[in-house]
Symmetry: C2
Subunit: 767 residues, 2 copies
Amino acid sequence: MKKHYEENPWLIVEEGFHPDMQLSSESIFSLGNGRMGQRANFEEDFTGSTLQGNYVAGVYYPDKTRVGWWKNGYPEYFAKVLNAANWIGLSPIVDGEALDINSAEVSDFRRVLNMKEGNLQRSFIAELKNGIKLKVDAIRFLSMVDDEAAVVRYCVTPLNYSGPISFKVYIDGDIINQDSNYDEKFWAEVSKSISNDEAYVTLATKKLDFQVCTGQKINVTQGGQKVSFSSDQKEKEKYVENTITVDAKEGEEVVVYKYACNISSENHPKTELNNRAKTVLANVYAKGFDQMLAEQQSAWAKRWEMNDIVIEGDVAAQQAIRFNIFQLNQTYTGEDPRLNIGPKGFTGEKYGGSTYWDTEAYCLPFYMLTSGSKVAKQLLLYRYRQLDRAIENAGKLGFKDGAALYPMVTMNGEECHNEWEITFEEIHRNGAIAYAIHNYIRHTGDRDYLKEGGLEVLLGISRFWSQRVNWSSAKNQYVMLGVTGPNEYENNVNNNWYTNYIAKWTMSYARESIEYAKSDSAFWSDFVAKTSFQESEVEKWSDIIEKIYEPKKEGTKLYMQQDGFLDKEDLTAADLDVSERPINQHWSWDRILRSIFIKQADVLQGMYFFEEDFDEDTIRENFLYYEPRTVHESSLSPCVHVVLAAKLGMHAKAYEMYLRTARLDLDDYNHEADEGLHITSMAGTWMAVVEGFGGKRIKNGVLSLDPMIPDQWTSYRFNIVYRETVLSISVNGDGVSVKNESGDACDILVYGKSVSVPQGETISVTK
Amino acid sequence: MKKHYEENPWLIVEEGFHPDMQLSSESIFSLGNGRMGQRANFEEDFTGSTLQGNYVAGVYYPDKTRVGWWKNGYPEYFAKVLNAANWIGLSPIVDGEALDINSAEVSDFRRVLNMKEGNLQRSFIAELKNGIKLKVDAIRFLSMVDDEAAVVRYCVTPLNYSGPISFKVYIDGDIINQDSNYDEKFWAEVSKSISNDEAYVTLATKKLDFQVCTGQKINVTQGGQKVSFSSDQKEKEKYVENTITVDAKEGEEVVVYKYACNISSENHPKTELNNRAKTVLANVYAKGFDQMLAEQQSAWAKRWEMNDIVIEGDVAAQQAIRFNIFQLNQTYTGEDPRLNIGPKGFTGEKYGGSTYWDTEAYCLPFYMLTSGSKVAKQLLLYRYRQLDRAIENAGKLGFKDGAALYPMVTMNGEECHNEWEITFEEIHRNGAIAYAIHNYIRHTGDRDYLKEGGLEVLLGISRFWSQRVNWSSAKNQYVMLGVTGPNEYENNVNNNWYTNYIAKWTMSYARESIEYAKSDSAFWSDFVAKTSFQESEVEKWSDIIEKIYEPKKEGTKLYMQQDGFLDKEDLTAADLDVSERPINQHWSWDRILRSIFIKQADVLQGMYFFEEDFDEDTIRENFLYYEPRTVHESSLSPCVHVVLAAKLGMHAKAYEMYLRTARLDLDDYNHEADEGLHITSMAGTWMAVVEGFGGKRIKNGVLSLDPMIPDQWTSYRFNIVYRETVLSISVNGDGVSVKNESGDACDILVYGKSVSVPQGETISVTK
């Protein structure tokens, strides 16, 4: 854990230039607008350590799967998040020397991520090797309003110099991907053009032929007056550059405005990309920087209105939750049905693909309760549209008759991960996709979604489970062999309790949903015709539901993570030397596998999802056994533990876990922020506040709140959309007040008691 | 299974040209002399399907390990068997058209591998597109006497043409490796030279800088008379060519003799390679083809004298056993301590590396009992010399205090495999290396080998086992978690019985060996000082030996392959549809893993190694349970089953398994002969005859024979070296006769009775 950034409720601030932290800071200060995103690379030339990152949503590269020995069923490709053209390039050159803060003497360096307004600011004074001192103030943002456009305002004040300063303003498409095989380049040039104040490069990915036109349009002012210039124009392969020279005066600001855009063939015909780029740039250029900035501020203000969580009395916690919410909103806006929430968003290349079970298990609640049911439904429909691919995927593994196995990772429904122990075995993901349907319906009341796709998905997944189990004559029960549970520090285990349980639950929920759907006879006959559904399938499910094996420790309430778990050497994380942590960076893989240490909630993930199925003693006994054996080396781990610990009244543990999830990247708990941020687990942080401290549940179809407050806080406040009503919930040491911000009167449970909250009113309940 | 080659006791014969079988035939007709080897590619230009393969012993390429997600402890590289310069190139050109039997009209095609004499012959008539008919008779071999040299005699008779015929005689070093990443080339040119009748290319591998100088020297005769010629000389990168044109006469033979050599920097200073090549070529050129051929014949005759197994009454079985013995002798001669027995020998690229546990478990008995104790000891010392690396390897995985884990695959002692489930988990290999020491000592009586390295190896391996187990408080026994047994259709299982048993056995044998070694106090004090051995280590071993868990089915004599095995769906291989076999080509990996099907002997491997520890009923019960569930998709599987079936009196099963092992490649049981031959399992075929049918055992330090004979055979005969005495053993339906071919009188057991065989005499025992 590192404390590096200043604690501030609305800003992330870095004071002083820290080259050793540059890679992490590039992740932390990332910007995005759902359509594109960018690591916080510097505009100017930089010879220090950096991971260049510019990403355009939906654009990926199907890199040939790399394995030692090919095995049947392996996916053909691993979908790489593709680093795209660098469009921020803007480098001042004075007296023949380019500003490079790696080699210059830098002082007064300050970098600010303004989460409230959605921009990145940076200022510093640099003394070049030639002795010339420049003061730089830069600000940039990716527009939430014009989501194909972005702008940089780069202001240079020479402090001890008058004379020419040149600005090399460029787009560089000749970029590399960090994890490319053998340093292959993934982009080829399609076309480019350049004029005095504009330049465009259109690039195509070497496979799949995604095309992106990146453009820039430049304006320069000096002493507040527009400067007319005649730029030097330079073209190289995949590269265009306008160099503009200004006769600068000591103490007088020169400001370069670089308007930029990324236009993707995902959204426009390939033949139209360049025209569209010109239109977009002309539009934002006409608006000008100040208007764009004002629009950006108000777009973010609108987001915060609904999304914000206010924590009083604990700046670190306040900053952290806003950071997570900010990054989630930068990553996914819910506007494009083809997009999803990549685990690193637009902040790094690691993991590849865009859609993991993280979406259903962690992200859905956040978007559902802050952006509303439409966005949540969009996420469900994303999977429904990919059902055919999931059936194909199961077919490749030998399943049949409409069984569906959703991919571990995907861009378009095809599996694109590359380890058998994950791709083939980490099948609990299928359960999370079924669970999300249930979770959506119980929150929104939109049971008709079953008929709009939900039931087909449930059927496909249930068919998979029923084929995936086998009868054990030794146990006289159904078993599920060869799986990987959520705890990926185990591979190829038998009878992972969580997987067995969610399989059973899916079949049971599918059975119940079928009964519901049958009442609509027109729908039902279409459904049977389309899916070749047979009643005998439900009979088979019922048999499995009744007879599936759940490993348990005799004489206790402990569910066993998998068969043989008790054979492990019994240690707790407290037995580990701090120098060995995280174990995934210090231990060999086989040692991790055979150790007792748990990467993330596994049995406890089941207790979290299906809390109502277990009495509190059972949850407590399992929590007390598993949590101390958990090393939380998955970003998805702590949040689930917050929710359970809060429920169990273990407030100190809940708060400890909260800081770990909320400040995971800011304080770099797992020593990996340099690779990018843990976007999907950020939704877990929101969940930790709302479900953990706030005690939000749905009980028998009714919203229930059972809030507690960490000792360190004086109060906290969050909003949720519940059945189209926005509720603003404030908690302090005395109790909770709930304000109905819109909609009809709303009946909810608070501390177990029924309460009605009339429109526009606030009710308070003391604990 | 395909029957393609003519059955013949000493020859492998292919009649007719079969382009669809070319890849397999290139494997089958491979040549080697222990120092280098070659697939049966054609000399002339060939546009059909082919896998070029020329290999030089000890030369490899450390190709960057390819995995999806890097894990701690992974080996840095995968050692590729490197395809080297093609030195057989010799292409006739008539009237501007090069002979290409893929495009010519070919008749009378016949290819013969003469196993008795160690050469490859090929003859055919080709009608070119220009109407010219050529009769070709080619023969080539890699000299067993001059093991850096080889020769091609290429005879062309024009059948309907008189006029110029050109012969393009070349060395092409611009070759590709089948499995290179992204078609990288692995060789760079160092130098080349060419003169009228000689040419040389020296190449270096791009990593590790192995250098090989390949040379050719040419002689031409016409109508039996030497032709003087003036060649056209051509050089390209990594390529040299002499083209010789002869004024041919219809019906008259033109013979091109191409003497060739491969001189490796493994054996000579780099600066001397070219000189050495010239010397070698001058020498064989002076000898001439006929003398080389005669020397080759007598070298092979000498090998066969000791190695041959004669089977009367079953040509298919006879041919097969000789094919296996022939290939084993082509692969490894026991002369170079740095070399070992690669799983594909010199016949293909697959698998990489050169040394697997195959050497100790399967190959050692063959070389020990046909080539004698010196070669066997060489194989043991190979591992002893790599002990430091094995300790390093264990260290990378977190083991300490001198624990040794030998690599799954290696060239020089470093691990160079690339799958965690094998590299990290298939640790039973360590046991086979310990077992080989025991096996060597019990056959040779050379117990002093313990002091020459054996004991250090046993200590290192025992230290590994004692750290690798852990105490299970649930079982109140030691367990071994997260392993892969010999049956690689399971991964990451707990308590693989075979692994637990061989671990226990190793510690027990090490304990006993330490007691023996202590009696030599000078050795012992050095040993303790060198290894930091402590008595408490043996105490720990004793505790583990006593308390290690062995999974067993209650109420039976069945050892369970691993924990949870009985949870699998209970099927036998007979339940499989023939279209699904081999399952590894038809099923997804996860389906294979969770199925009951066994790739190769696992529990039965233990019954084979430690037969004396189990009563016959136990072996029978385990055989009857496991064999029907075994799909024998490892080439190492059937031989072990022959030995056990023969012991159990299951003659039909033994014979079925014998054909499967002996004719595995000739009849291509597993549909993969195109990739190369299964060299190491060929030793298993020898074992199947000698230990299976011959019933050869060591019982209380005495050689014991208990032969049976398959119904299909009238008699069979084999030789073994037993304590420096050569015994020739003949078996027929009546019984066995044993001739003492050398040495002192020899006391052995035959059918359980003590028998003395005086020098030079034959004793016969009726069953």
